[in-house]
Symmetry: C2
Subunit: 470 residues, 2 copies
């Protein structure tokens, strides 16, 4: 497969002595070994690795601030690294520089159960957080599939299966501790549920993908563990019937906690990979949270809607272990999909449209993909209007890569034409930069550029990302 073109491959030279200074300061927690650089120069995107010149394993905000000061002074790129699960080339060192690995900053700073908030270091992962707060009766709902770090999730404005009920990182980050480009440390907000005290610095950094500052602590909202949870699978005769049901569920205002779509191929792949025996037709996976009566009521309304659309009877997963198996299978749909074509390389997409256009958008996309030379699966957080296509490509076929890129471009254009977005939750990174102009227009992009220049005048923070270079 041809390597995707990297828009800005101009590596900046690192000044003489710079790496030595980092070595002197961080000791064994600095490395420029090839293997370490390779690990920090790749993510889950289809891009080939682009290596940083060195990697710092930071253990405190103060260390990150010191590092930022050095990079600022010497004009060296600085790229934050969580667990490396980004999907669009976010952390590739297209201009070289230093990768700052925050995975060692993995402590809970404070849990205020009575306020439903937790403050964690940026390297804490979502599963770790939920393990550590289990006894409080609270949980952190945002679930992008991967066991991502909270810092990374904030930086990419992540969401996932629970967003339809609980929102995305945009709604659930209350405050951030951020190291600025020149090495100052700020807190973006306090712990009040709401505030009108000036510009929304929190939301400026959420989704900024490391280009405006380095997030070192995250304060998030927590929610009560639901008194009752139930989950059910519903199979449908067609993709359209499934998606139409979701539209009606959302339009009825049913507060479903999760509603996930899998097409027939995704179901087949999941059966094979996770050793399940789901009926192999398009399906929806529902989860309901609430009081026992509330959950029952929600499920009844939803079942009426699905029946009206030709859906089959619900298959319930009542027990926690059944639900857990089901959701693990859903989260593994990506890896399961890869097994549909052993040895393949994948390209994933991520668009989001207003719910009224979802059936049309998914339908047109599937019809086009059915003509493609390679297999694909479609899964989606369809309650938000968000879905993904996994395209399974022959790694030795430049034609297939080119074809997948064209399909991706048409899909994005279709989403934009329907008042949607080129990325619902994966972020821009490198791979979606080409769509930023079409989505936002030049004047809005210019404002984004001016924000970037104001916050990072020497363009050292994850340079070459988000905003296309002229």
């Amino acid at each position: 497969m041809n390597a995707p073109v990297v828009p800005n491959s101009l590596r900046r030279p690192v000044p003489a002595g710079f790496l030595d200074a980092l070595k002197a300061y961080f000791g064994a927690r600095f490395s420029n070994a090839q293997a370490v650089r390779e690990h920090h120069g790749r993510d889950e995107s289809p891009y080939p690795p682009m290596l940083p010149d060195g990697v710092v394993f930071a253990e405190s905000t103060e260390e990150v601030a010191w590092l930022a000061k050095q990079c600022h002074e010497h004009r060296v790129p600085l790229i934050p690294f969580g667990v490396g699960s980004s999907l669009e080339g976010h952390l590739l060192a297209v201009q070289g520089g230093i990768s700052v690995d925050l995975s060692g900053m993995n402590k809970l700073v404070a849990v205020h159960a009575e306020d439903f908030t937790a403050t964690v270091q940026a390297g804490v992962t979502r599963k770790q957080l939920n393990e550590e707060i289990r006894d409080t009766g609270l949980f952190f709902p945002i679930d992008p599939g991967a066991d991502a770090s909270l810092g990374g999730m904030a930086a990419t404005r992540a969401s996932g299966t629970n967003a339809v009920r609980y929102g995305t990182m945009r709604e659930n980050v209350m405050s951030l501790k951020v190291v600025t480009a020149d090495g100052r440390v700020i807190e973006t907000a306090n712990r009040a549920r709401k505030s009108s005290a000036g510009y929304d610095l929190t939301r400026i950094f959420v989704g900024s993908e490391g280009t405006l500052g380095i997030i070192t602590e995250v304060t998030v909202r927590l929610f009560p563990q639901p008194e009752a949870i139930s989950a059910a699978i519903c199979n449908f005769p067609s993709l359209q019937a499934a998606v139409q049901s979701v539209i009606e569920v959302i339009q009825m205002g049913v507060p479903v906690a999760r509603v996930e779509f899998m097409d027939t191929w995704a179901v087949k792949a999941t059966n094979a990979y996770s050793k399940l025996d789901l009926q192999e037709s398009p399906l929806l996976l529902f989860e309901f949270h609430g009081s026992p009566a509330g959950v029952k009521e929600q499920a009844q309304v939803v079942q009426e809607i699905t029946r009206d659309n030709g859906g089959m009877d619900f298959q319930w997963a009542e027990q926690p272990e059944d639900r857990s198996r089901l959701w693990t299978a859903r989260h593994n749909a990506y890896f399961a999909g890869l097994q549909l074509r052993p040895g393949c390389r994948s390209s994933t997409t991520d668009v989001c449209v207003p719910i009224s256009r979802l059936a049309e958008c998914v339908g047109q996309t599937a019809a086009e993909l059915d003509q493609a030379s390679f297999p694909y699966t479609i899964v989606g957080h369809v309650g938000d209007g968000n879905f993904h296509v996994l395209m399974l490509l022959d790694p030795d076929s430049p034609q297939e890569w080119e074809e997948s890129e064209q399909l991706n471009q048409r899909l994005v254009q279709r989403a934009l034409d329907m008042e949607g977005t080129c990325t619902g939750e994966h972020g821009v990174g490198l791979h979606k930069m080409e769509f930023m102009l079409a989505e936002h227009g030049q004047d809005a992009l210019d404002l984004m550029s001016s924000l970037k220049a104001a916050f990072d005048p020497h363009n050292i923070l994850n340079p070459g990302k988000i905003i296309p270079q002229h």
Copy 2:
């Protein structure tokens, strides 16, 4: 009463011929008549009027863009005006310039009922919007009391009684049309429920109080009109018992739609003003939204909690007209309060703290106010940790003004010490600028200043607000 000191009273001279050019372009929709300037140079704050040099009644985004271009080129301040209901001096022309009145931009642009969104011109008020969409079965929940314009509500990050359930303008604005300082027109986002496509321009403008751009259209989320609504009043033997009940209701995760606190004086004032016979002790006003069963269940849980805290039996307002009377009375609490001291002038406050600190914060504040030389009332959107004090001052007593300012300062400091904010929903305007440093710190304020300079390099957009001048 002494006029509060205006931090920056340096009026900028308007260049010769500038007003004539506006007159030529806008005709009768430009005015520099004294009465018109006075109307646009005051708000509901305790500040004396600060008049703009002229007022433009805009009817389209293109007109606002043309006006911004002129102001940008000639360095003339430009201040957006909705209905004038701001509370902290937001729209006072401290540096002179042009007030652009958007109240004539009062059309619904598009209602997408199937997506739960509405796009409106900035001058549409929240009541107008709800009137016009009534037949869709949807409603717009955000309710700051005043019948404010949607543009103004977005600009101040408004919230109000329903925020505990439905969020604030931060969560409910999906997209904005904005005129930039130099007269370009951007859309901040599309209508997808979520997006990770670059910097969050929407949230940058929400709460920016006209200092970063002029909002001319607002796309907001709508919600299904609840199947069932019930409202109830619960009286308590003490302020602490009432507030403690709220804390427990929130901590139980009950999705109350509204929970409003009124202290004894606020209740007395409301009885007199709205001709009600509420029992004159601290009370909570609850509203529950949901299915009939869900509403019943919520109310049961809440009643158990209030009883445990010494609350009296619920008094129900089952009929729409009863509820409407009750909420009208609540919204009139401000005007009712003024009647406690005929001829008084008022000063209102607005802080928000984490819910766990609310009882302590309200209790200490009430204890201090009991020693004050003037009457006061406390009301609050306590489910968010947000409350207001209305201080009723002798307009001829500089001492009382000074005393109220000191009480306000101590209240804000108390809120900040409890990890809260100096303004939960009113915004900064002029009156809260002095607390911005204490709340955010110099480094965060510097970032805000750099954002302002990037978006408005000639400092023409509502200058002298939000960020304290050095």
